[in-house]
């Protein structure tokens, strides 16, 4: 009672976003490791609607969806390390870009990973277009949050390790340092922050996570034919 639990796994980047936020805020937490191919009764009870990780359990109440969990963490532990910008306009920009990352950048990267043949080239172009927009957003700034990392940095953070893993599984390159120098530079600064670095899984785990996911999807497609 009163403790903080995170249902998830550290190879899943939406879960790691939550761990990063808790670490930056100095909040102690316990990870309850989930097997996504065999979800626990606790997960199904705590997130009956979406049945997904991460789930933050605080004072025995569940909060779900990583972006919502980040805002919750920021509002509960508001005296340490603010994540959201102070100014409402900057807040709205952060929320807009967070949604863009999850709905466009992540989705197009997955599409490129899954696609084969001619479709793959088209998917790669689409993914790169979303990265271009992100590149413009970091222009003139050290981090998306300014001088310190904030909410949007945690949301974009998956590109420092999970995007290379997606590239490896998909046999392609999306974020190269010559095409996206600012974004690349940002990943180098981000990944060296201690709280960030401590929560990163080994790269092979992330590769394995996506490869397993891809194999599963392909087996579903094969069984439909």
């Amino acid at each position: 009672m009163g403790g903080v639990k995170v249902l998830g796994l550290n190879s899943s980047f939406p879960c790691v976003r939550v761990l990063w936020a808790l670490k930056l805020k100095g909040v102690n937490y316990e990870i309850v490791e989930e097997n996504l191919l065999n979800k626990s009764p606790l997960l199904l009870q705590m997130n009956p609607i979406h049945k997904k990780v991460p789930v933050l359990i605080h004072k025995d109440k569940p909060i779900v969806e990583s972006l919502l969990i980040l805002e919750y963490i920021d509002e509960v532990w508001k005296t340490t390390y603010p994540l959201m910008p102070e100014d409402p306009y900057d807040c709205s920009m952060a929320r807009f870009w967070a949604k863009f990352v999850d709905e466009k950048v992540v989705v197009t990267a997955f599409e490129a990973m899954k696609s084969e043949g001619e479709g793959k080239e088209v998917a790669i172009v689409a993914a790169k277009e979303t990265l271009e927009l992100l590149e413009k957003q970091i222009e003139g700034k050290k981090f998306f949050g300014g001088d310190e990392i904030g909410y949007l940095d945690l949301v974009v953070g998956w590109i420092c390790l999970w995007l290379p893993a997606i590239e490896q599984v998909g046999g392609m390159k999306l974020l190269d340092s010559s095409t996206f120098p600012l974004l690349y530079q940002w990943t180098q600064c981000f990944v060296h922050i201690p709280a960030i670095h401590e929560c990163l899984p080994p790269r092979e785990k992330a590769v394995d996570y996506f490869q397993t996911g891809l194999n599963y999807l392909r087996s579903l497609d094969a069984s439909k034919k």
């Binding site: 969806e65 972006l67 919750y72 409402p88 709205s92 929320r95 807009f96 949604k99």
Partner: protein, 225 residues
Amino acid sequence: MEVRLHGMWASPYVIRVIWALKLKGVKYEYIEEDLSNKSMAVLEYNPIHKKVPVLVHNGKPIVESAVILQYIEETWPDRTPLLPEDPYERAMARFWIDFGQQKSLTFFAFFLTSEEDKHKTAAQVLETLKILEEEALGDKKFFGGNTINMVDLFFGWLTYSFGCMENISGVQVLLPETLPRLHRWTLDFKQEPVIKENLPDSTALLEHFKRVTKHLKSSNKFKPA
């Protein structure tokens, strides 16, 4: 302190922003957009999505209706609160708005349903609305409790647009027999003064929906899977 709203009279995304501004007593200038011939302002303010609503406050644009609602709440916090104070309750309010956004394809499929699929798509909508009724509304008068809040504003389209979808598809879903508490909510919601005074004309709306449905179906843009 200048507030402008670029919108379109039939758009539920725009109308929920109008409701929020009116509830907060914020004076604003409204600009009606022709969505087939968008103004330079919309294209400049929302270059990524090129959509309405666009709220412009002191020359700065905010886009995406859910983001705009939060911006309005944070910019004018002392009048008519639209989110609960408690962080957990706020997270739950944001969860339901996110749920509504995640289910938009389900509603869209019903909106553009073919004759053969109408009962199947209607059943999927009913399932979604049952979750909303049971888990989000429960026995409360409004999603916000005794007074309306952001969740009520977000789902407010069910009280006017949804009827048009039912009319066009020929299947009624939101009935006292099927969704008693949600149905009662639609009546209570529309009685609230700000809502009542800011609903689109129902005859004009149905004609608009019929035109849009015909156009989308003939262009094959959103062919149901």
